[in-house]
């Protein structure tokens, strides 16, 4: 198709243009890691995993495995004794002294086929001495708990993380604002509760897979590349962070390690950072010259990659006689699992946002990440926020109820939130000023959409119907200085290649990048494509595709790159016409002059330049636009108070309301409708925002009913899609209403901020509040299983 055919969308920002990646995804040609072809030289890997939650490793013997025909290598901690981590370098690739979770890899086997690798892995003999294990984060935080990391003091750590060697506490974030002690007596209503969330898993439909190729070192004396050239193909949200962490851990020069990441089949945080990918590299080193493929089974995906941390939240909140929030005291104990290299930053994020989206003058917050003998807790959509909002948003409902009777004015849960929610310019808990957002407008939109003041009769005598509301905030949680960069290049026909290191996980990052580039350049959307796959050798740097930061951060970089290219073009044409670049513009792929009304198509000139008169020489040449973005204004926070000039780049806020029915005979919940609204700053692609809102509402709803289960020795009981159910097409509500408001973000492209993670943060508490509205029963612990609700109805279970 040439660019003159088909649709032609000028000024695409704000328009619901189709996704750039959708055609290849419906015809089956979109390539994921497992689809890549490596030929007959490909080897297969299998990991040997610990059956114990906590044990000393006494011996690892791989001799029998190596005797199996077709086995090429076996690797243990003796061969590669190093640790890896992002914020806290605590995870050995293969441990040599102890295992800390059921499923921890202690060795890996490489063979010519998957079957041989599996058979050989079973022949690796490991002698263990079982140690006492601890699974609950509150117990693990006690001084007498079994210690998981006696060497914690030696671990390298980021300067904004505060581990406590000699304990299991890998991070303790303290927030101190005002004076809670003097505030409690002034409270007219106080609600206190302990709230628990189990581990849940991301359940991307694509399991993790990685292929690594370690090419032999060059001959001695040839100079460069003493470590060999390493290529790693991964399904990753973080190709550049993987390069950095694996290079550091394994002593590979950054330039010798190339990470290539094609489309990602769902990430949700589970494909951020490094999880299983490092094993592919460690095993490939043992069989240089052969690509080695490591692919997680669904069971390994559940317990051998990462999970969302479990949380125990002990929270107390009070308000005065007018219903104004006065004080909050909270302790969050995140169950970080065996290794907390990423989880520490979740506890930190939960600490500096510990109030949820509320303006509370007196706050004492302590957020802990605690080592436990459970799967590794790491990033998952919401990054600590769904966990803390579960308790906060139920307490707000209870406070509203308590105070309502004492007030002359109506104060229902929606009104209570309008009054107390964080507003533009508030000095929030860390001391920073709240950037412009409109949470009240979001509350108004969802209460209207759910017809909040009206209560319908249930559809059957044995059913009860209720409505619930919950609100949220979330900031991108990341180091202070994560950068993005972009390049914009042209083909001869003036079609555009946008090069970014951000990843397409399904959220629409490539589509938004194409829209931003087209708008800033002045070319039709259909002329732009985004170069894929992401390849650290050729793609411009991107920190990670996480934190809902891509539309904002990468968007800024792409906009800057396109503006840079545009300026180069205008200067060449202005010189050609003898005009001022300021009188020129690019519209629909043509340079135009508002002064002389001349026109110059971009075709060819963006590559070849323009000839001088009579072909007496040329001007211009290939246009390459470059753009970067990095926030420069975020400060570290005081370790004792959590106070600082600017804790985060910004917050995205939103509200959700749900209507549901509970079957009182079975305890089953049917969610009838979910209404959501978020302040997106600027909707670059309105329909893509709706797809996030709808998918996120269902993800959030699903999360209210999910939970990984373990036996008393830490062995997983339900690591499969039958026993761990995620919502299917028959379960989802009939109606999901999505909406947004647009309060521009000061430093977002056209004012845009991210919304990908926020869309599931408050769904579980909104459902719990609706269940309480229907039944008058509160459930403090997730999941909201039918059994639990039935027992609650029968009065058997003490729910509070």
């Amino acid at each position: 198709m040439t660019v003159s055919e088909g649709t032609f969308t000028s000024q695409p920002v704000g328009k619901s243009v189709p996704r750039v990646d959708v055609y290849e995804k419906v015809i089956g040609s979109a390539v994921f890691v497992d689809d890549m072809q490596f030929g007959p030289g490909l080897y297969y890997a299998r990991l040997v995993r610990s059956p114990y939650a906590h044990a000393r490793i006494k011996a690892v013997d791989v001799r029998k495995a190596l005797e199996v025909p077709g086995v090429k290598a076996a690797v243990t901690g003796r061969d590669i004794n190093t640790r890896i981590g992002l914020y806290l370098v605590d995870r050995p690739i293969f441990p040599i002294d102890r295992v800390r979770v059921v499923g921890e890899p202690v060795a890996g086997v490489v063979a010519s086929s998957q079957e041989v690798a599996e058979r050989a892995a079973r022949l690796v003999e490991v002698e263990y001495e079982e140690l006492p294990a601890v699974f609950d984060p509150v117990e693990a935080a006690q001084p007498d708990a079994p210690l998981l990391h006696p060497d914690m003091a030696q671990y390298e750590v980021a300067n904004f993380i505060f581990p406590q060697p000699g304990t299991n506490i890998s991070e303790h974030f303290k927030l101190r604002k005002g004076d809670v002690t003097s505030a409690w007596p002034r409270c007219a209503a106080i609600v206190e509760g302990t709230f628990r969330l189990p581990n849940i898993q991301h359940v991307p439909i694509e399991p993790h897979a990685a292929v690594a190729l370690w090419e032999p070192s060059r001959m001695k004396g040839s100079g460069a590349a003493p470590s060999g050239e390493v290529t790693l193909w991964t399904c990753s949200q973080s190709p550049f962070a993987q390069r950095d962490l694996i290079a550091q851990s394994m002593g590979i020069p950054h330039g010798n390690l190339r990470v290539i990441s094609p489309y990602v089949g769902g990430g949700f945080g589970g494909k951020a950072g490094v999880s299983m990918e490092v094993y592919a590299v460690a095993l490939a080193r043992a069989v240089q010259g052969h690509p080695v493929k490591l692919r997680m089974t669904r069971e390994e995906e559940f317990v051998g990659t990462t999970v969302r941390q479990a949380l125990v939240a002990q929270t107390k909140i009070g308000c005065d006689a007018e219903g104004n929030l006065l004080a909050m005291e909270t302790r969050y104990y995140f169950s970080g699992g065996a290794y907390n290299d990423y989880g520490v930053n979740i506890a930190r994020a939960a600490g500096y946002s510990c109030t949820g989206p509320y303006d509370i003058p007196n706050v004492k917050g302590d957020s802990y990440c605690v080592y436990t003998n459970v799967p590794i807790g790491s990033a998952m959509r919401g990054f600590g926020m769904p966990e803390i909002h579960w308790g906060i948003e139920q307490i707000m409902d209870q406070l509203a109820e308590k105070i309502a009777g004492k007030l002359p004015i109506p104060m229902d849960p929606a009104e209570f939130r309008r009054r107390n929610c964080v507003k533009t310019g508030d000095t929030i808990l860390t001391g920073m000023e709240m950037p412009a957002t409109d949470l009240v407008a979001c509350i108004d939109k969802v209460t209207e959409a759910i017809d909040w003041d009206r209560r319908e009769a249930a559809s059957a005598p044995h059913k009860k119907r209720g409505k619930g509301i919950a609100i949220m905030w979330k900031a991108p949680a990341m180091p202070p200085n994560p950068g993005s960069s972009a390049l914009v290049r042209f083909n001869e026909d003036a079609t555009v290649n946008v090069e970014i290191g951000a990843q397409e996980l399904g959220q629409g990052a490539f589509t938004v990048a194409a829209q931003v580039a087209a708008q800033a350049l002045g070319v039709p959307y259909e002329w732009v494509r985004v170069s894929a796959p992401v390849d650290t050798k050729y793609s411009p740097y991107e920190w990670q595709t996480v934190a809902s930061r891509i539309t904002w951060s990468t968007g800024n970089a792409v906009k800057a790159a396109a503006e840079d290219a545009r300026q180069q073009i205008l200067e060449i044409v202005a010189e050609h016409w003898g005009e001022d670049p300021q009188d020129l513009d690019i519209k629909d792929g043509k340079v135009i002059s508002y002064r002389s009304e001349e026109e110059q198509p971009l075709q060819n000139m963006v590559v070849y330049g323009l000839p001088n008169e009579g072909f007496e020489g040329w001007k211009g040449g290939p246009i390459v636009g470059r753009g970067t973005f990095m926030p420069t204004y975020v400060s570290n926070l005081d370790p004792e108070t959590g106070q600082g000039t600017r804790a985060v780049v910004h917050y995205t806020v939103g509200a959700q309301a749900v209507e549901l029915e509970v079957d009182t005979e079975t305890g089953q919940v049917e969610v009838l409708k979910i209404a959501s609204a978020y302040d997106v700053g600027k909707a670059i692609n309105p329909d893509l925002i709706m797809t996030q809102i709808e998918g996120g509402a269902v993800h959030g709803m699903s999360s209210a009913f999910e939970g990984l289960q373990f036996d008393e020795r830490g062995r997983p009981l339900n690591p499969n899609l039958v026993d761990y159910r995620i919502l299917n097409a028959a379960d989802v509500p009939r109606e999901i209403h999505g909406d947004y408001v647009e309060t521009p973000l000061e430093d977002g492209p056209w004012g845009a901020r991210g919304v990908g993670e926020h869309v599931m943060v408050q769904t579980a508490p909104a459902i719990a509040n609706a269940i309480n509205d229907a039944l008058g029963i509160r459930f403090n612990d997730l999941p909201l299983s039918a059994e639990k609700i039935y027992l609650g109805l029968a009065g058997v279970m003490n729910c509070e």
């Binding site: 649709t7 419906v26 694509e206 797809t691 998918g695 299917n728 028959a730």
Partner: protein, 180 residues
């Protein structure tokens, strides 16, 4: 491992293949024929990402041995588009933005295709029931259900079996504002 020579029709083309006894149909498609549109999500018949048609019936190809496909007709996502023309389902998935990461999409399309083949006028409940075996973590399913409704009308119109009232029932939430 014993090997067997089998003869199968895949997306209309005849193939004669040498397959080991324990090779699944999924492995045969992906590894022998490089038809990687069919995805491996669990290898346990639980997620539906590997759904293909075997003699027009939807099957989890990870749960069927390649040797069992001997003499049968297989349709994968690569066989849906005909003569360079997208299948109505594929176009509807595009029009409704019913695709995000795309990993479940091939299996979804095949299950929906099987449904429309046996029931050209499915009610919403029937669409939901036909897709329960295909898990999706991104979309929340509603747009997929709407896309199947739209495609059903399209397919019925092509076969001249559409009643006028039915067409009016379906709304298109995806408005192509961008088209000029």
């Amino acid at each position: 491992m014993a090997h067997h020579t089998i003869s199968v029709t895949v997306n209309g083309g005849k193939e004669v293949l040498d397959v080991p006894s324990d090779m699944t149909l999924l492995e045969m498609l992906r590894e022998k024929l490089a038809l990687t549109g069919t995805k491996n999500g669990c290898e346990a018949g639980e997620c539906g990402a590997c759904t293909v048609l075997v003699d027009r019936e939807p099957v989890n190809s990870c749960m069927m041995l390649a040797v069992e496909a001997n003499g049968r007709e297989i349709t994968t996502v690569e066989g849906l588009a005909q003569d360079g023309q997208l299948h109505a389902l594929q176009q509807a998935f595009i029009d409704h933005n019913a695709v995000q990461c795309g990993f479940c999409t091939p299996g979804m399309l095949i299950s929906a295709h099987a449904l429309l083949e046996r029931n050209p006028h499915p009610a919403e409940e029937e669409i939901r029931a036909a897709l329960v075996g295909n898990l999706c973590r991104c979309t929340g399913y509603l747009r997929i259900i709407e896309a199947v409704q739209t495609a059903a009308i399209q397919v019925a119109a092509e076969h001249g079996t559409l009643s006028a009232s039915k067409e009016g029932d379906v709304s298109l939430p995806f408005t192509a504002e961008g088209e000029a």
